[in-house]
C-alpha cells in the first residue's frame, strides 16, 4: 500500500509546487514552506495602540511597537504601573499567540481630543480640555480644522523640514518595528503590517476613525492625518495619490471602526464638512474600504437593539449606551444609540440602496474584529483577568477593589483571515477579497460559502471545503448571476474554540444567518434565520459563580436555502456563530470579590457598577462572518469577488 500514500502525498503537495499562488507577490521574501490552496484561518489584531499614541502614553503605556509585536508572538510584556527602575509592576502574556498584528498608532502626533476624553489622565483637567468639554464645537475648530492645522506651516521653517523631521522619527520606528517583527523565513510564523489610525471626527465630534493598513514595506513617507485633511475623501484621495496610484508598489486598505459611535456620520452621503460625496468619492471608498470592524473594545457595531428593533436580542451584546464618545462625558451632547447611528446591518442595506443610484455598492465591506488596545497588547481578549485596554476609565475610589476599565467597555475581539499562508501578500489579498470574519474573543473556526451548485449533503462530505470553493463563493464574495432556477444555497460550518488547558473553550449554541435586503417599496429589511444548533438548548451560566452548565455543540454544520429568496432583490447574507452563555469580564471580577447584588452588604466600594442597571453580567461570545452578496444586476458581476465590482479599480491581482 505504500505507493498509495506516496501518490496521495504528491497530490497533496502538488498545488504548492505547480500552481502559482492565487495572490500577487509584491515583496521579496522566502516562500512559505507550506501553501494551502484551501486556506487556513489566521488569527490577528489590526487595531493596536502603543506609546506613540498620545492617549496611550498619557496613561503611562510604555509598550513600543516592537514590544507590541513581541507580545503578539507570545512574549510577556510589562504594563503600567512602573517602578523607579523602569520595571513594570504588572505583566501580561497571551495564552495563545497571534498569527498577525498591525500596530495602528494615531497619525496625529498629539491626540488631544482623546486625551480630553479620559478623566484618568492628568491632562483631563488642563484648561484646554475643560474648554473642550464645555464648548466642543469651539474646540473642534481649535483641534480639527484646517485653520489651526495651517498654523503648523509657520513653524516648520521655510522648507518645512523641522516639522517633517519631528514626524518622521516615530513613523520610521513603526516601520522598522513592523519590519523586524515580520517572519520572512520559510517558517512564516508571524506577519506584521505597517499601519496607522486616521483619527477623524465630524463637526459634532462623532467618530469617523479609520485604520490604514499597507500591503508591504513600500509606504508613504508620512502617515496622512486628520490634521492634514479632516475629511474622509481627503484621506482616500491621498492614499490613492501617495500609494495605490503612485506606481511604487504601494497598496493599502482602510478599515473604519466604531461606526456605533459615529452618530450616523461615518456612512452618510455627506462628508465630515457637510459636502456631498460624489460617485467618484464613493468609488474610492469602495476601492479602499474593504473591511469594517464589527466589534472592538468600545463596543459592537453589528446591529442596533432598542425601541423599534427588539426582535434580535443578541444585538444588545456589548452595545454602548451612547452614540458619540463625547456623550460619555458631556450630558449635553449625550444621546442614546439609535437605529440609524451607523450599525453595520443597516449600513450594508444602505449600500444595497446606493447601488441602485451609483451602479456599484460603496459599502461592500467584510467583517473583522480587533481590540483597539491602548496598552500595546494585541490579542489580549480574555474575559478572565481583563486588565483593561486603557479606555477612558473613571478613577476608582481609594479602595482595594475596582473595575480596571469602564463598565461599558470590553476586552475586544479577534480578526480572522482565511489565507493560503501566513505572509503579507496572502493576508492582504484575503482582506481585499473580504474572506475574513471577526470574533468577540474566542477562536472558533468558521467556514461560510454561498452558491448555486452547493450539494445538499455537503456537511457530510470530507472534502466539503474543496467542493464549496468549486461550487460557490466564500465569505466576502458576491454570488455570481443566477445559474439555474434553484435558489442559492449556503453552507456554514463551525468548530468551537478548543481553548487551552487553563481555559477550555465554550461550546457552541447555534448558528444564525442574517439576511438584509431592500423590499419592493424600497424599505430596508433584515431577518435572522436560525439555521443550526438550538437556541433553547438549556445551557446557562450561574452569574453568582460564573459556572457554566448544560450541553452545547462542538461542531455545527448546515446547508441552508433562503426560503424567501427573490431573484429580483439585492440582498446580503452573513452568519453569526453563537457560543453558550458565559460570564462577562466585569462579572468575573464582581464574583471574585464576592459581590451578590441581592445582598447590599456584599458590595464593596468601587464595585457598585456590578449591580448597576446597565450591567449585563452574562454574554454570549460569537463570530460574525463577512457577508455574501447577491445582486440581480448582472452588469457589475463577473462571478468574482474582487476588483471588478467598482469602476475605479485598477488592481492587478490575479485572483
Amino acid at each position: 500500500m505504500r505507493w498509495v500514500w506516496i501518490v496521495w502525498w504528491l497530490l497533496l503537495a502538488l498545488p504548492a509546487w505547480s500552481a502559482p499562488p492565487s495572490f500577487e507577490r509584491t515583496e521579496e521574501r522566502q516562500p512559505c514552506r507550506h501553501y494551502n490552496a484551501l486556506k487556513i484561518p489566521l488569527f490577528g489584531d489590526t487595531h493596536v495602540h502603543t506609546r506613540y499614541s498620545l492617549d496611550a502614553s498619557t496613561q503611562d503605556t510604555r509598550t513600543t511597537p516592537q514590544q507590541a509585536y513581541r507580545f503578539a508572538r507570545g512574549e510577556r510584556i510589562g504594563i503600567q504601573p512602573w517602578n523607579d527602575e523602569g520595571k513594570a509592576l504588572r505583566s501580561l502574556k497571551l495564552a495563545r499567540p497571534l498569527d498577525f498584528a498591525v500596530v495602528t498608532d494615531h497619525a496625529e502626533l498629539i491626540g488631544e481630543v482623546s486625551m480630553c476624553n479620559s478623566p484618568s489622565v492628568d491632562g483631563y483637567n488642563a484648561w484646554q480640555c475643560k474648554v473642550y468639554r464645555r464648548w466642543p464645537r469651539a474646540a473642534f475648530f481649535l483641534f480639527n480644522t484646517r485653520a489651526s492645522a495651517g498654523g503648523r506651516l509657520g513653524l516648520c521653517g521655510d522648507d518645512g523640514n523641522r516639522c517633517l523631521t519631528a514626524a518622521l522619527a516615530p513613523w520610521q520606528e513603526m516601520r522598522e518595528a513592523a519590519e523586524q517583527s515580520y517572519d520572512r523565513s520559510d517558517n512564516c510564523d508571524f506577519t506584521s503590517f505597517v499601519g496607522y489610525e486616521w483619527t477623524g471626527a465630524s463637526e459634532n465630534l462623532a467618530n469617523l476613525h479609520r485604520n490604514v493598513i499597507f500591503r508591504n514595506a513600500v509606504v508613504p513617507d508620512l502617515p496622512f492625518s486628520f490634521v492634514d485633511n479632516p475629511t474622509a475623501r481627503g484621506l482616500w484621495q491621498n492614499l490613492e495619490s501617495s500609494c495605490l496610484d503612485a506606481g511604487t508598489g504601494c497598496d493599502a486598505l482602510v478599515i473604519p471602526h466604531n461606526s456605533n459611535l459615529s452618530d450616523g456620520y461615518m456612512f452618510s452621503p455627506q462628508d465630515a464638512d457637510g459636502v456631498l460625496l460624489t460617485a467618484e468619492d464613493q468609488a474610492k471608498r469602495s476601492r479602499l474600504e474593504r473591511l469594517v470592524e464589527v466589534m472592538q473594545h468600545k463596543g459592537s457595531s453589528e446591529c442596533f437593539f432598542g425601541p423599534g428593533q427588539m426582535e434580535d436580542e443578541l444585538c444588545a451584546f456589548e452595545q454602548l449606551p451612547y452614540d458619540k464618545f463625547s456623550g460619555k462625558f458631556m450630558n449635553l451632547t449625550r444621546s442614546a444609540p439609535a437605529a440609524d447611528d451607523g450599525f453595520l446591518r443597516d449600513v450594508l442595506n444602505d449600500g444595497l440602496k446606493l447601488k441602485k443610484e451609483l451602479g456599484f455598492n460603496p459599502y461592500q465591506m467584510g467583517f473583522i474584529a480587533s481590540t483597539d488596545t491602548h496598552l500595546g497588547a494585541p490579542g489580549a481578549v480574555s474575559e478572565t483577568d481583563f486588565p483593561g485596554h486603557g479606555g477612558a476609565g473613571e478613577p476608582a475610589a481609594a479602595n482595594n477593589k475596582g473595575l480596571p476599565d469602564d463598565l461599558e467597555f470590553n476586552p475586544g475581539g479577534v480578526a480572522v483571515v482565511w489565507a493560503e499562508e501566513n505572509s503579507r501578500d496572502a493576508i492582504f489579498a484575503a482582506m481585499q477579497r473580504r474572506e475574513t470574519y471577526g470574533t468577540s474573543g474566542p477562536r472558533m473556526s468558521v467556514r461560510f460559502f454561498g452558491g448555486w451548485d452547493l450539494d445538499r449533503e455537503l456537511c457530510e462530505a470530507p472534502d466539503f471545503v474543496e467542493r464549496s470553493y468549486l461550487g460557490g463563493v466564500p465569505m466576502g464574495g458576491q454570488l455570481p448571476p443566477v445559474a439555474n432556477p434553484e435558489d442559492p444555497r449556503f453552507i456554514v460550518s463551525a468548530l468551537m474554540d478548543p481553548g487551552t488547558l487553563d481555559s477550555p473553550g465554550t461550546a457552541l449554541q447555534r448558528i444564525q444567518i442574517i439576511k438584509g435586503w431592500i423590499d419592493d417599496a424600497g424599505n430596508k429589511r433584515q431577518r435572522v434565520y436560525e439555521v443550526a444548533g438550538d437556541a433553547n438548548n438549556g445551557a446557562s451560566v450561574n452569574p453568582l459563580t460564573c459556572e457554566q452548565s448544560g450541553d452545547g455543540f462542538k461542531h455545527l454544520c448546515r446547508v441552508w436555502t433562503d426560503p424567501h429568496f427573490d431573484p429580483a432583490e439585492d440582498a446580503y447574507y452573513y452568519a453569526r456563530v453563537v457560543e453558550n452563555p458565559s460570564c462577562r469580564w466585569s462579572q468575573q471580577i464582581c464574583v471574585a470579590n464576592g459581590v451578590n447584588c441581592a445582598n447590599p452588604g456584599t458590595i464593596p466600594r468601587g464595585l457598585e457598577a456590578c449591580c448597576s442597571d446597565t450591567h449585563r453580567p452574562v454574554i454570549q461570545e460569537r463570530a460574525w462572518t463577512s457577508p455574501i452578496w447577491y445582486s440581480p444586476n448582472t452588469d457589475s458581476l463577473a462571478g468574482d469577488t474582487l476588483n471588478n465590482d467598482t469602476p475605479s479599480e485598477k488592481h492587478s491581482n490575479k485572483d
Binding site: L142, N400, P462, L495, T500
Partner: protein
C-alpha cells in the same frame, strides 16, 4: 610683554572668569523642586488601584512616588534646557493654544506670549513631550557594542527562548463526539481495518480543517485540537507510519498517523546574535537612563510642597 599689564586685559580676564564661574554655578547649583502634596499622593494610589485592582504595598507606594518625582525633575530639567523653545511639537502645540486663547500677533509673538502666560506648564501634552525628550537624551546614543562574553551571558540566561520545538506532519481520521455517544468505539473499529491496510478516506467524519497537517508543533496542535490532543500525542511519541490508538480532542476522537517528525533543536548563539545584541542594548539604555536620572536627583532638592520654590 607690556600688554600683560594692560587694565583692559585684566578686566576681560576677570570678566571671563566670573562668567565661567557663573556658568558653572548655574550648571551645578542645586535646584529646588516641589515635593508631592497629599492630593497627588492619593491620586497616585488611586491610579494604581484602578489599574491593578490591588492596594499598593509600602514598597510600591515609595516606587510610585519616586517615579512621579522623577518625572517632575525631568520636566524641570527640560525647561531649564529650554526644550519648550526649540521643540517642533511643543511649538506647534503652543501655537494652537495661543490661537485658541485669541492671542494676536505673528507666530513667534504668539508663542512668546503663550510661554509668558505659562501655558506650557499647564499643558499635559507639552509636559509629556518634554519628558520623553529628556528620557531619550538619558538613554543616550552610545555606540558601545557588546562583547562576545556579554552576548553569551544573555544567551545562557534565557535558554528557553532559543528552543525550536519539534514539528510533526500527520494525517488523522476524526470521529465526532456530537454524532453519537461512542466516538471511541467507532474509532477502535476503524483502527483495526486501518491497521490491516484499509484506505483511511472511507472512515470517520468530516473535519473543518481537513485531514492532513504539516509541520505542526505540539503547541499548534493545542490551539487547533485542544490540549488533550497534544498531551496524548506527546505522552507517547508515535512511530512514523503507524496509526495511533484513539486520541481525544476538544471535538471527539482521532486516529493519528504521523508521517514525518522534525526533532526539536536549539538555535545557536550566532543564529540569534542580532536578538542578543538588541537585548543587551535595551538593557544598556535602561541603565544609562537610570544613571542619568540618578545624577539629576543629586542636583534637585525636593522641598516640602507649598514652600516657595
Amino acid at each position: 610683554m607690556r600688554f600683560l599689564r594692560q587694565p583692559l586685559l585684566h578686566f576681560l580676564v576677570i570678566g571671563i572668569a566670573l562668567f565661567a564661574l557663573q556658568m558653572y554655578r548655574d550648571a551645578t547649583a542645586p535646584i529646588d523642586i516641589e515635593g508631592l502634596d497629599a492630593e497627588t499622593r492619593l491620586q497616585l494610589r488611586d491610579d494604581f488601584v484602578r489599574q491593578t485592582g490591588r492596594m499598593p504595598t509600602q514598597i510600591q507606594i515609595v516606587a510610585l512616588e519616586r517615579q512621579e518625582l522623577d518625572s517632575r525633575i525631568l520636566y524641570a530639567e527640560a525647561l531649564r534646557r529650554n526644550f519648550h523653545r526649540d521643540d517642533a511639537v511643543v511649538l506647534q502645540r503652543l501655537l494652537r493654544d495661543a490661537n485658541f486663547l485669541g492671542i494676536e500677533g505673528s507666530d513667534d509673538e504668539k508663542i512668546r506670549t503663550a510661554i509668558a502666560l505659562g501655558v506650557h506648564e499647564s499643558d499635559e501634552v507639552i509636559r509629556r513631550r518634554m519628558i520623553q525628550r529628556m528620557e531619550r537624551l538619558g538613554r543616550g546614543t552610545s555606540s558601545a557594542s557588546p562583547t562576545r562574553d556579554d552576548l553569551e551571558q544573555i544567551y545562557e540566561s534565557e535558554t528557553d527562548r532559543w528552543q525550536v520545538p519539534a514539528r510533526l506532519s500527520f494525517q488523522h481520521v476524526f470521529f465526532s463526539a456530537d454524532r453519537d455517544a461512542d466516538p471511541e468505539g467507532r474509532a477502535q473499529q476503524a483502527l483495526e481495518e486501518l491497521r490491516s491496510g484499509a484506505d483511511s478516506a472511507g472512515f470517520g467524519d468530516p473535519f473543518l480543517h481537513g485531514r492532513a497537517f504539516r509541520d505542526k508543533s505540539y503547541r499548534d496542535m493545542t490551539y487547533m485540537f485542544g490540549s488533550e490532543f497534544s498531551d496524548a500525542l506527546a505522552a507517547q511519541p508515535p512511530t512514523v507510519g503507524q496509526w495511533s490508538e484513539p486520541v481525544p480532542s476538544a471535538y471527539g476522537m482521532h486516529l493519528v498517523r504521523v508521517t514525518d517528525i522534525v526533532p526539536a533543536t536549539i538555535r545557536s548563539i550566532d543564529d540569534v546574535a542580532a536578538k542578543l545584541e538588541q537585548l543587551w542594548r535595551d538593557d544598556h539604555e535602561r541603565q544609562a537612563l537610570q544613571a542619568f536620572i540618578e545624577q539629576l536627583r543629586q542636583r534637585y532638592n525636593v522641598v516640602a510642597p507649598g514652600d516657595d520654590v
